[in-house]
């Protein structure tokens, strides 16, 4: 009897071995390699320097941290449009006169609390208020920007010189690499562990892939959803610290359109907008592709219009290269 049943899953088991890490992101690596090739060809002296690499990573750091949070939300079946605005709000709040009184540590904590708080509100609206994520976070986007403008009186707030420790994140280098790149790397590693090695991560896939199944398996889908948005907000708070470091300011204009960039990076990285599938590594690779494109343009002094056209084409080509990963299961 037992043997008779053997055929049920034999074929798939052999033919469909889980795609290994390298294979899954092959397309992305190819795209990256091509871009690097272009860089080496067009600007050999400027592109391949350690300095330029550091510059690319510094540029990617802020939005990279946000992308980690966005990956969680999207794998969990949601979307967070408010990331840029929440980061702006956190940066403004942390640089108000009142906050700056208390020194850099309190400023950092303030940014993180504001970010997490806004994320929590998103989470409550989506999970318990049952608002569609797109709308709830759009409302947050709008409101957070408004609030940031109000708090800052639409002015750019400088980090005071006695709180220079914040800015040091961008200027102090260890082994030639600014501290904020380390922060970025740390967030990526922690995000990866959380997603791949903890029950929280497993459940995120379940909640996004089949919420009804997750619920029936005894997962508190609402609470989990709420936590995902809070996590995204937390990342925005950390990103706020980084942007304060890089720009030495808090401003309501920070992070404009970050939401589109972050979501695009996540999707290019192979995460499905419908949830349930995706990887942190893919998202970060997707983001690096975007960042390197920009860097290449800067190095080559292309004019803006042509840059935009080229960027559109490159995105299409990059994604076609890894089409196999992205194609939906429908025809």
């Amino acid at each position: 009897m037992a043997e008779a049943g053997r055929t049920v899953a034999e074929a798939p088991a052999t033919t469909a071995a889980p795609r290994s890490f390298e294979l899954r992101h092959l397309g992305l690596f190819v795209a990256l390699a091509l871009l690097v090739g272009v860089g080496l060809l067009t600007r050999p002296a400027a592109f391949a320097t350690a300095d330029n690499l550091v510059s690319i990573l510094s540029l990617a750091a802020t939005i990279g941290v946000i992308t980690v949070g966005a990956t969680f939300v999207i794998i969990g079946g949601g979307i967070d449009l408010s990331v840029g605005a929440v980061m702006a709000l956190a940066s403004v709040w942390a640089t108000t006169v009142a906050t700056q009184e208390f020194g850099p540590v309190v400023m950092a904590i303030c940014a993180i609390l504001v970010g997490t708080g806004a994320g929590l509100v998103n989470g409550l609206l989506v999970a318990y208020g049952r608002l569609v994520p797109f709308i709830a976070t759009l409302a947050m986007l709008v409101a957070a920007r408004g609030l940031a403008q109000r708090m800052s009186d639409r002015r750019t707030q400088l980090v005071r010189t006695d709180n220079q420790a914040i800015v040091d994140l961008a200027t102090t280098r260890v082994l030639g690499v600014p501290l904020l790149v380390y922060v970025f790397a740390l967030v990526v590693v922690l995000g990866w562990i959380l997603l791949n090695r903890t029950t929280f991560g497993r459940r995120t896939y379940a909640v996004g892939g089949n919420p009804e199944a997750a619920r029936l398996a005894g997962i508190d889908v609402r609470r989990h959803t709420m936590l995902l948005y809070a996590l995204s907000g937390l990342c925005c708070g950390i990103a706020a610290i980084l942007i304060m470091a890089r720009t030495t300011t808090g401003s309501s204009t920070h992070g404009d359109l970050y939401e589109l960039d972050a979501i695009a990076a996540v999707i290019i990285g192979g995460t499905l907008l419908t949830g349930g599938r995706g990887t942190i590594v893919g998202s970060i690779l997707g983001l690096l592709i975007f960042t390197i494109i920009t860097n290449l343009f800067i190095l080559n002094g292309l004019n803006t219009s042509d840059q935009l056209i080229a960027k559109g084409l490159i995105i299409v080509v990059a994604v076609l290269l890894q089409r196999r990963n992205l194609k939906e299961r429908t025809p």
């Binding site: 009897m1 037992a2 008779a4 049943g5 899953a9 033919t15 619920r215 398996a217």
Partner: protein, 513 residues
């Protein structure tokens, strides 16, 4: 051990449960029977905490225990295998099995332990070949069903509820399932078992509760000694003869389909056969023997090498059974052309109704007419009155309940959803129907009606290619039978020359008759 009393569950517009009682004893297999839509799934969802009952009490071992949610039910020792597969495609087999109670320390998962434990459960289920690290989305339906079972078994449950676990399983798998159930009951675990297959009830069941229209109408009947006819008449309120309609006297007409040397790597190879007008051809084989794949390839929905030749274009005329032009030469089907297949008069009722056939949010009408929309339109403009009339007629013919063609399909019970899938291709204008497990989840009464309908279609000159995991069904309904084993046809011949035993022998042991 479990006592449910006066359970009432109201959905918008439907009283799905209207005072149901259920008693289950420890160590027994308690069968729950009832027509499609009787309320079986709803009842067990109440039991599993997935639905909150509007009225009624639940007692477990004499203690009131109304699960407030799935977590609660699990804690009370109730594990459930749901009718609709409830797995997460993006996660591995092991992750799915332990979802909600992961092997973890301080939130960190122990992947190796989980894989080991999953492997153990799967081995216990007789399927060591399902690898714990495989992504569930890549498994065929039967394997998913096994994973669902593994998941229920992985909980230390005192009561396991199985909602039509055998619907996706073939004969040998069912035997395997029964072995496991006996195992469980021997250890004092109670099992609530739902199935529409009478012979299963007789084999495994201890006692039977019959539901009808949301009410209990019979409690604790002995499963082995109650005559089938009595149970069926309790369920349906009438006497149903569980027999197959007589075969046509007329010889079949000209070929409507010829398949030559069809192969698809990894699924099947060198398949050749033909279907004539008025003929029902059955495909028998184990789960995984490639039957669904053959249907899909014939339909143009899957890449394959070889040739598929299809009869001429049908005359489009709405009407249940009379609408096909019987002439026209065979023509080769372009590969990958479902659109062309449909235009040429083919229709496929696929295996997984939810994933492959239904628009869950849409009305019954919209689901039925989806395949033949242009038949109701002039220059793209829909004649909605005619559309609704046709759909209503078909819904009545197949007894789809509730009798409301505007109701969203997702609120129908599983069996009624299946009927809606079939109704789509009964709309008319078809020359060749490909039916993949058409009676999955359909109750006894409706099943007999379906058989009649399929036979009438054939009599009207339509060719039918039928896949079913129930060998008696294939033998009783088909004119000719193809027996498949591991992707190759090992026997092809008249159904009357075969019996169940010989077919089983062939598909299990590969011995040609």
């Amino acid at each position: 051990m479990l006592v449910m009393r006066g359970i009432v569950k109201q959905f918008p517009g439907v009283r799905a449960l209207d005072g149901v009682d259920l008693d289950v004893r420890a160590g027994e297999v308690h069968c729950l029977l009832g027509q499609n839509g009787a309320g079986k799934s709803t009842l067990i969802k109440v039991l599993a905490g997935a639905h909150r009952p509007d009225e009624g009490t639940i007692e477990l071992n004499g203690v009131p225990a109304a699960p407030a949610g799935p977590v609660d039910a699990i804690r009370l020792g109730i594990a459930t295998i749901y009718q609709e597969l409830d797995l997460v495609d993006g996660l591995t087999v092991a992750d799915n099995i332990f979802l909600g109670h992961e092997h973890a320390r301080l939130g960190f998962t122990d992947r190796r332990a989980a894989n080991r434990a999953a492997g153990e459960v799967l081995t216990r289920l007789g399927h060591p070949e399902i690898r714990p690290s495989t992504e569930v989305g890549r498994l065929p339906p039967a394997a998913k069903q096994i994973v669902s079972m593994a998941r229920a078994l992985s909980r230390e449950a005192r009561l396991i509820v199985m909602d039509e676990p055998s619907a996706a399983l073939a004969h040998d798998e069912v035997a395997n399932l029964f072995r496991i159930i006996r195992d469980l009951t021997a250890r004092g675990v109670a099992v609530v078992y739902i199935s529409h297959r009478m012979e299963e009830i007789r084999e495994i069941g201890d006692r039977v509760t019959v539901l009808k229209d949301g009410r209990t109408i019979a409690v604790g009947l002995p499963a082995r000694d109650t005559p089938t006819s009595e149970i069926v008449s309790l369920m349906t309120g009438r006497d149903v003869e569980y027999v197959f309609p007589p075969r046509a006297a007329r010889p079949p007409g000209e070929e409507v389909l010829r398949v030559e040397d069809l192969s698809s790597p990894g699924a099947f190879a060198g398949v050749s056969f033909s279907v004539r007008a008025g003929e029902i051809v059955g495909l028998a084989g184990l789960v995984g023997s490639g039957r669904s794949e053959i249907l899909e390839a014939v339909y143009g929905a899957r890449r394959a090498t070889g040739q598929v030749l299809v009869g001429g274009r049908p005359v489009r005329r709405a009407g249940l059974l009379r609408s096909v032009r019987r002439d026209g030469p065979l023509r080769a089907l372009r590969r990958g052309g479902v659109v062309e297949s449909v235009r040429l008069g083919m229709g496929l009722a696929p295996e997984e109704r939810k994933a492959q056939a239904l628009l869950l949010d849409q009305s019954v009408t919209a689901n039925i007419t989806l395949g033949g929309l242009s038949g109701f339109a002039r220059l793209g403009w829909l004649d909605r009155a005619r559309e609704r009339a046709e759909a209503t007629r078909l819904a009545e013919a197949l007894d789809i309940r509730p009798r409301d063609p505007e109701r969203p399909v997702k609120t129908l019970s599983g069996g009624n959803q299946q009927k809606a899938v079939l109704a789509r291709w009964l709309l008319g204008g078809r020359r060749l129907l490909l039916l993949d497990e058409p009676t999955r989840g359909v109750d006894v009464g409706a099943r007999a009606e379906l058989y009649t309908v399929i036979r009438r279609l054939a009599e009207d000159g339509i060719g039918v290619l039928l896949v079913s995991s129930e060998v008696p069904e294939v033998l009783g309904l088909a004119d000719r039978v193809l027996v498949l084993r591991e992707g190759t046809v090992i026997h092809q011949g008249d159904a009357r020359d075969l019996d169940e035993h010989r077919v089983l022998d062939m598909i299990m042991n590969g011995r040609a008759a």
